[in-house]
Each structure stands twice: as C-alpha cells, then as structure tokens.
C-alpha cells in the first residue's frame, strides 16, 4: 500500500484529477454536463468491479442497486419533501438493504445462476415501478422538485469530488488485506475457507460496500437530472453499459472501470452525428477490446509497465 503513493499510477491519477478539476474554467457547460454524468457512471462501474473483479460475483443487475438508491431518494423527496441530503443518505441506505437481499442468493448459488438472479431482480424492480405508478411515476418517470444546485460548474465539482473519493476508498479497499481475501474467495472459495478466512463475512461486506456506492451515486445522479426514470437508472441496457465500462477499462483494477465509463459516455457523444449507428460502433469497439485486449485499457497499460 505504501508503495502506491510513489508509483506511476498514483502520479498519473493525481495529475488527471487536477487537470479535470480545472476544466470548468475553460470548457462549455455542455461538456461539463456530459462529464458529470460520466463521473457518476464511473462510480457505478467501480462499485460493480469490486463485486465482480474481487468477490467473483457476476452481477448482471448493477441497476438493481442503483435503481433502489435513486428511486428511494427521489420518492422521499417528491412525496414527503424531505431535504435533498437526507434523501441521498436514505437512498444509499436503502441500496445497502437491497445489496443484502441480493447477497442472500449469492451465498447459495454461483456463476450463471447468480447472474440470472440479479437479472431477475432488475426485471422485478422494473415491474414494480410500472405497477406502482402512482408512487414512482411509472414509465414516464418521477419528477423531483429539488436539485442540489443548478450551477453546471458546481455540479461538475461535486461529481468529480465524489468519484475521486469513491475511487480512493474502493481502490484502497481492493489493495488492502480485506481486498486480497476477497480476491482469494472469489477465485477459490473452498481453499480460501480452508485457510481460515470467513468467506461469508467478506462477501457480505463486498456487497454492502458495492451497494452503498451504487446507491449513493444513483441518488446523486437523480438530484442532478431532476428526474428518475426506468430508462436512465433501472433498465437492463444501463446495467449493460456499466458492465461494458468495467470490462473495457480493465476488470480487477477498480480505477480502470471509471476510465471505461468516461470513455463509453464521451465516445457515445462524439458518435452522435452517426445517428443510430452510435451504439453499434461503441459495441463493436468494446467487442474488439474484449477479444484482443482482454485485460482492458488499464490492464494492458499496467502489464506493459510491469514487463518493462
């Protein structure tokens, strides 16, 4: 861990964050808005990477955790008019409870079976939102009266600060002894258990941490958009984007996941002139990366550094 503060990765990340922090001084509000969303997405992807890359749990439903956090915060604000910050905290807590619900099957079933359970969780949430349309706004979406701030620069700094702190915590956790035990139990639960580590406890902790950050980020995103809808925080397609981000950036790197998310959202915007082909091109690029650089962007860079 101590070696990290002198490593090249640390200085590169530090330089990137400093450059990113000065962006509001010279780029347009449009770019800032785009990056704000990208940063929240980055946190989704990092939280997912903690579960998949380290705990070895194939979670097809990152949007279950995100959606529960986002909708809880949104509903509390829209129905009861509670303050934005209280709603965000409660949204994150609701997401932690959702994470525990998701962890229950994870302790019983593995691999594709668990993947399907998480997918079903998303579909159930989606159905629930549509069925209880009075409360949730249904398919049209929920309009939220309050926002954190309407200043594009301030929103951008909040998102950047939030992503940086989350990245520091998640990366630190992944490199700590807890993270190593998690990695071991993800790769071979029987052997890790035989070494005397409590796998159940570690996995539960991973689910709680992942859910906390997903829910927090989802709640913040909702108060940035001023609306919560199935299409932005719950739909399976959103979850697919989160997974693709993490795999693109390099699984098991945590930081790479955030890079992948930013790349995915910015690339999608650049390709907007190509119209309906944008998603096709992004998917094709992602597929090529999966086929030819299975380690992802950061994985490829890190292994080259390790070799030299």
């Amino acid at each position: 861990m101590a070696g990290f503060f002198t490593s090249r990765l640390f200085f590169v990340s530090l330089a990137l964050v400093i450059v990113a922090a000065t962006l509001p001084l010279y780029v347009s509000g449009y770019v800032l808005g785009l990056l704000t969303v990208a940063f929240y997405f980055g946190v989704f992807a990092m939280a997912w990477d903690l579960l998949f890359g380290f705990a070895g749990e194939v979670n097809f439903g990152p949007t279950f955790l995100i959606g529960v956090g986002a909708y809880t915060a949104g509903i509390l604000n829209a129905q009861f008019g509670w303050s934005v910050y209280l709603c965000i905290v409660l949204g994150a807590l609701a997401s932690v409870i959702a994470g525990l619900v998701l962890a229950l099957p994870a302790l019983r079933v593995r691999g594709p079976y668990f993947g399907l359970t998480t997918l079903v969780a998303v579909l159930m949430l989606q159905n629930f939102i549509v069925v209880f349309a009075d409360l949730t706004g249904g398919e049209i979406g929920l309009t939220i009266p309050d926002v954190i701030t309407i200043n594009a620069g301030a929103n951008y700094w909040i998102a950047l600060g939030f992503m940086t702190i989350s990245a520091a915590i998640l990366y630190g956790l992944s490199q700590s002894p807890v993270g190593l035990v998690l990695q071991a139990s993800g790769q071979d639960p029987v052997q890790a258990g035989a070494l005397g580590f409590n796998i159940v406890k570690h996995k539960l902790a991973a689910f709680i941490v992942s859910a906390f950050f997903s829910g927090l980020s989802g709640a913040l995103l909702v108060f940035y958009f001023g609306t919560a809808s199935v299409g932005t925080v719950v739909d399976v397609a959103v979850g697919v984007n989160v997974i693709v981000s993490a795999v693109l950036g390099g699984r098991r790197t945590v930081l790479g996941a955030a890079l992948g998310a930013i790349f995915l959202i910015v690339a999608g915007e650049f390709l907007r002139p190509t119209g309906e082909l944008a998603t096709f091109i992004v998917s094709a690029v992602a597929l090529l990366v999966v086929l030819f650089f299975p380690g992802g962007f950061l994985g490829a860079a890190l292994s080259r550094e390790a070799r030299s």
């Binding site: 998949f52 194939v58 099957p105 019983r108 079933v109 691999g111 594709p112 079976y113 993947g115 399907l116 359970t117 997918l119 079903v120 579909l123 159930m124 159905n127 549509v130 069925v131 790769q187 399976v236 397609a237 697919v240 997974i243 693709v244 795999v247 699984r251 309906e276 082909l277 998603t279 096709f280 998917s283 094709a284 992602a286 597929l287 999966v290 086929l291 299975p294 380690g295």
Partner: protein
Amino acid sequence: MRAFQILIDGFAISALYALGATGFTLIFGVSGVLNLSHGAIMVAAAVAAWAAASVLGVGTYAGALIGVGVALLAAFATYFAVVKPIQDSRRIPNEEREIFVLTGTLLWGIMIQELIAYFFTNNAKTVLPIVEGVVDVLGVRTPKNEIFTAIVCCLVIALLWLLVNRTRTGKAVLAASMNPRGVTLLGLELTNIYIVVWGIYGILAGIAGVLLGMFLGVSSYSVGPLTASAFSIVVLGGLGSVSGSLIAAFVVGYLETLTAYLVSPAYRTIPALLLLVFVMYIRPQGLLGRR
C-alpha cells in the same frame, strides 16, 4: 370456454418458448456457452423473413426459408467471430472465460440489434403467416396460424430428439456434453461437434424466430426480453437439460397466459419471475439440472 382459450393459447406460446430455449440449452450443455445474442438471432431471422416476403415479395415459404438461413449464418458468425476466439485465447484465464463469453455475446447481440434498427427501423414487423384463416377449436375461434405454430414446434423438437438419440452425429453431441475429453480421446474432433451444435442451434433459433414473427410480431426491442425469457426458462429447467427446458417452457408459458387472461396483461411476466426466484432458493440447480 375461457379455460379452453387459455389451454390453446398457452400451448402455442409454450411450444414456441420451448423451441427457442432448446437450442440455447443444447449449446450450454455441449460447450458451456451461454449465448446472450440469442434474442438478436431470433429477431434477425424474423426480420429477414419479413423483408424477403413483404419487401422483395418472394412468397411466404421462401421468406421463411431465408429467415432460417439468416439465423444459421448468424449462429455460425457468433461462433467463429466471438465464441471461438474467446475459447482459444491464451490471454484470458480459464476461470474468467465464462464472463468473457457472456460479455462478448451480449455485445454481439447489441450489434445485431442496432444493425436491424438501422436498416429496418424499430417498428414492429409481422411476418406474413404461411397458413391463414380462423378455425373453431372446442368453441374457441383460433387462428390457423396458431395451430400451425404449435405443430411445427412439436415436430421440430421431435426431430431434434431423433437426431440426438438415434444418429451417430447426435450421439457424439450427447457424448461431448457428458465428457468432452473422453470424446477427443475417441478420436472425434471437438471443434466439428461444436460446429454441428451451433448449426442445429441456428436452425432452431431461426424457426422459432420466424414463427414468433408470424404469431406475435417482432421489433428490435424484443431482443432483450427474448434473451431473458430463454435464459430464465433454461435456468428454471436446469442448465443443459433439454427435457428440463421443455417442462420449464410449458410452466412459464401457461403461467404467463393465465396471468394475462385472469389478472391483467400488464402483469404477465411477474408470476414467472417470482417462481424463478423461488426455485433458485429451494433448488438452485433448476428442476432437472445436475450440479
């Protein structure tokens, strides 16, 4: 009266689900691949059949054949462009191959879906049915097409059963699903078996897609739900177990039809999802699955 209607409609839908899920489970059983581009291949078949019959005007039979052909090509493309490179890659650790195949086929499916949306728009398309008209069954006015769908599905599944259990190729496929290494020791090329299986899969998915296009209509939006329904049917029945998938397809099909008729069409998928979660808790390997 209504009971008969549920019985008939449910049977046709279940048979269609069964056909769609059989190929999916066959591939998993033999090569351990969960093909998440399944829905996209089915929709590609239906859209090709629609385009051939309605735009080019080649007739319904030729259109259906073209649809199945497109699905066959798409299945081979999936295998050679996505699945095989991942299986052969030395840079992907063994324990992570599964997630790479899932991610890869998922992206591939999105690519097919987007291409369809680009060239043929997102509008729903209904393939011209091969048989038209309505017939009275037990007092229920049933489209002949619905009966045709059910019959074709049952026939194809029966043929598949004969192929797997009664022919030499089929027996090799069966053996590969039990013990791949044993098959290679007997001098059979595993890759050839995989190609055969992907071919069978393509034909099954193609027929299911074209029939679905005639029966309910498809659009590029049906890709996700189709993959999800095949996935849940297959897991409910037990991954890799063909008979399990058949039973699960009928359970899910009838459950959905019952809900749609007795409660509300808006809730049709909910009971099946609940059942799936319930089965996963008490019997994680599915109805007929082996661990």
